[in-house]
Structure formats: C-alpha cells, structure tokens
Subunit: 242 residues, 2 copies
C-alpha cells in the first residue's frame, strides 16, 4: 500500500459528522445536543470517545457545555470595534443581532508602573507612578472583556470620576487632550485561569488583545493599555486611507 492513510480516530469522525449535522440544520443555534448517554447509543462508542468528540466541537467554538444542563450549539454574534472613525472605539453592532455594549469600572488607583509602561509613558524616574484603571466590558450585561489602562497621573487625577463611567478616548477629547496618534498591536492569546474565571469561558478560549498607546501633539504619550476581549464576541474594523 503506497498511501499509508493514517486512519482517523473515532472521536474525530464523530465530531466532524456532528459538525455537518449542525451545518445541515439538524441542530440549530441555541438548541441542545442529545445527551452523552443518547449519543453513546447513537454512535455505539464509549463515553470517553463521545466526550472527546464534544470536546473537539467545543474547541472549534461550535458548541458550549453546561454542567447539569447539556451541550448547546453556539449562537454567534460579534461586536465590531471601529478603529478608524474620527475618534476611535465607537462601538458598532454587527449583523442582525442587537447587542448592548457597556462598561463597568473595577478599580482606579495610583500605582507604580511596570518598567515597560514607565518607558512608554515617559514617566519621570523620581516618581514613576500612573493611574491604573481596570474595566470590565459587558455585552448584554455579560462580561465580554477586560481593559487595563495606565493613565498619566495629572490626567487621571483630574478626570477620575468621568473616566470611571466612560470610555477613555472620548473623555480625553472632551477635556481638550487631543489624541494625535494611536499606535496599536492587535494579537491573539488564550485565556489563562484568571481570565477564564473573569469571563466565564473555558481555559484556553481565544482572546483578542488590543494593546495601544495614545499620543497627543509632540508625540507625548497620554495613556497606554490593553483591551482583552473574547475572540468569539468581538472583532476590529480598520479602515486605511493612502
């Protein structure tokens, strides 16, 4: 036999077929899959194999499990962060579904900034402090992301109350801190234990990271932070003019 077709494991075949059934509409978004017991009967395999097949689907983001309740087909709907608009960060809902987006202040305090942040924000070596704000991003009241932002001390002090209730950039613009430039990196990570508990997602769930620094005139940095949001709930829209 020339072509040594490595025979596919059972769990993969099953998860692929269930995936097809989801696509074909046997299982609709939001609906419950048959229980493990029923799937065992249907596919005539052991529980460990069915559980592995389900795990395959979970990893692909097709289904979600809930202990005691069952396995449910994921309903997808994403919120788009628009980065290129006049300001930035104007939230816009995508597709048909209407999603309410809100934020919630977790903490707001003066801290000694990590060395990278000291460098980025050009803090004085004598007093390398900045305000660190932790925010929770909510979609339909449900946690969908966290935001950690370091704010120059003189700004954070004055605008504390407003910053605790609004998005950062609009508040800055309202108080005549003109944002000249935003340098950002968008990347992808996996949820660690802390984030998985915060956002109620399984360990390793894909996350989008928006790590940014906002500068005012003369390349003076104002704020630096990162927004970590659920990869299945958010995306970024970028419009580049040349």
């Amino acid at each position: 036999m020339a072509r040594s077709q490595k025979q596919a494991p059972l769990h993969l075949g099953i998860s692929e077929q269930i995936q097809q059934q989801i696509i074909n509409g046997r299982y609709l978004p939001g609906n419950k899959l048959p229980s493990e017991r029923e799937l065992i009967k249907e596919w005539q395999v052991s529980r460990i194999t069915i559980r592995r097949a389900i795990a395959n689907l979970v990893q692909q983001g097709l289904v979600t499990t809930h202990q005691g309740k069952g396995v449910f087909v994921t309903e997808k709907c994403k919120v788009t962060y628009t980065l290129s608009n006049p300001l930035t960060f104007l939230e816009d809902n995508l597709a048909d579904k209407k999603i309410e987006l809100s934020m919630q202040n977790i903490s707001f305090e003066l801290v000694t900034a990590p060395t990278e942040v000291q460098t980025i924000l050009q803090l004085s070596a004598q007093n390398p402090t900045a305000y660190l704000q932790k925010k929770l991003l909510l979609t339909d009241k449900v946690p969908g992301g966290v935001d950690l932002t370091y704010i120059l001390p003189e700004i954070g002090q004055k605008l504390a109350t407003e910053l605790k209730q609004n998005m950062t950039f609009p508040v800055l613009e309202r108080h005549n801190w003109h944002i000249d430039r935003v340098a950002a990196i968008i990347e992808c990570t996996n949820a660690n234990l802390e984030l998985s508990e915060y956002l109620d997602i399984p360990l390793g769930h894909p996350l989008l990271v928006y790590r940014h620094t906002a500068y005012t005139t003369n390349n003076r940095p104002l704020v630096h932070g990162e927004t970590i949001s659920r990869g299945d709930r958010f995306c970024y829209s970028v419009d580049q003019l040349h």
Copy 2:
C-alpha cells in the same frame, strides 16, 4: 459554611503548578517536560489526570505535544504585519528572534465568485468571475497561514505570473493600480480540521483573520480576500493618525 469554595479539580491544580514551574524556569522554552510516566510518579495521580493537566497547558499555548517524542515548552516569537505603512503589509520581525517570512502559491485560477464576493467586487451579473489565488504563508519555511484572495479578472489575467510570486499589494502598486483605501476586519477564529492539517496545529488552535477589500480611486474595488494566520505566530500593527 458561607463560602462554598468549589474545590478545584486535580488536573487544574497540577497544570497551574507546572505553569508556575515553566515561569520559574524549571522547564525552559524548547525543553522537554518529563514524560507522562514520570509525571504520574511525581504527582501520584492517574494517567488520565496528567494528560488532562497537559491538555490544559496545550490549550493555553504553553506547551506542544509530539507523539513519540514528548511534550515541549513553546518558544514564542511573533511576526508583525504592519498595516499602516505607506503601502501595507510590509513584514517586520518582532523581538530578538529573526524569522524569515515567505509565501508560496498554491493555486491561481478563474472561478465563479461567491455572491458576497460578487457584491463586494461589483462584478457584472453576466460574468461574475474573478481570479482566486490561494497562498501559503511561511515563517522559516514552515506554514504559518493561508491567504485566499479574489482578484478582478482583468487584473489577474495580466499580472498572473507576478502575483504568483509576490505579495498582492506591492504588485498592484508597481503596475499603477493605486490603492486608495483598504477596508479590513481583524478577528479571531478556531482552526477547523482542514486548517489544522494545513498548518499542522491542533484542532481549535486560535487563528487571526484579516478580511480585507482594497479600493482604488472612485471607490472601485480591486481585490478582496482573507488572510488566516496562526494566532501564536502573527500579530497586526495598526498606526492611526487623527
């Protein structure tokens, strides 16, 4: 007992502690973890528990498994796509590691475009065809992503040979197809079976998707496509001027 502390499962405790050991330097990037047999002895648990603990680490992208060889601590190094540069897509290597980036043409053929693409590229209803190019993105000769791009038929026909060997945008600019605007969405998905085999990654591995449409003057679309790349190997740099 007021606080019903749900006791953490064994596998979670073990994976968290191994993660600490990785951070503390007991296991260095690229090094092999002890084998399952050894870890079973060390932690005095069953194989299923150790395997689950390792699976936790895999899902967080901290280690990679190789059948027959062992489990190895991941070496992280990312390639940055710079989106804001004069043209676009100039590749820049991040951090210390030097990574060679190249591309490889998989296929280049005239096809009937899907309806969404027909709309986006404003193809004529009589002849809704476009060139579809499939490319493989390689980092150090290793597949790191795939790119599917639909190209206007008149452009694809003329520039076929060049497009097969170079990045799309520079080729267009070289032939006086000025790119006026690029509208893009960056999002996150999980590898399905096809992509996991293409890119040699486990099912569900996080992927970055860059879905873009390039327009020339008068908002005339030229190309539309999506770049799907490994979330652990790539990131996007965005610079916004206001």
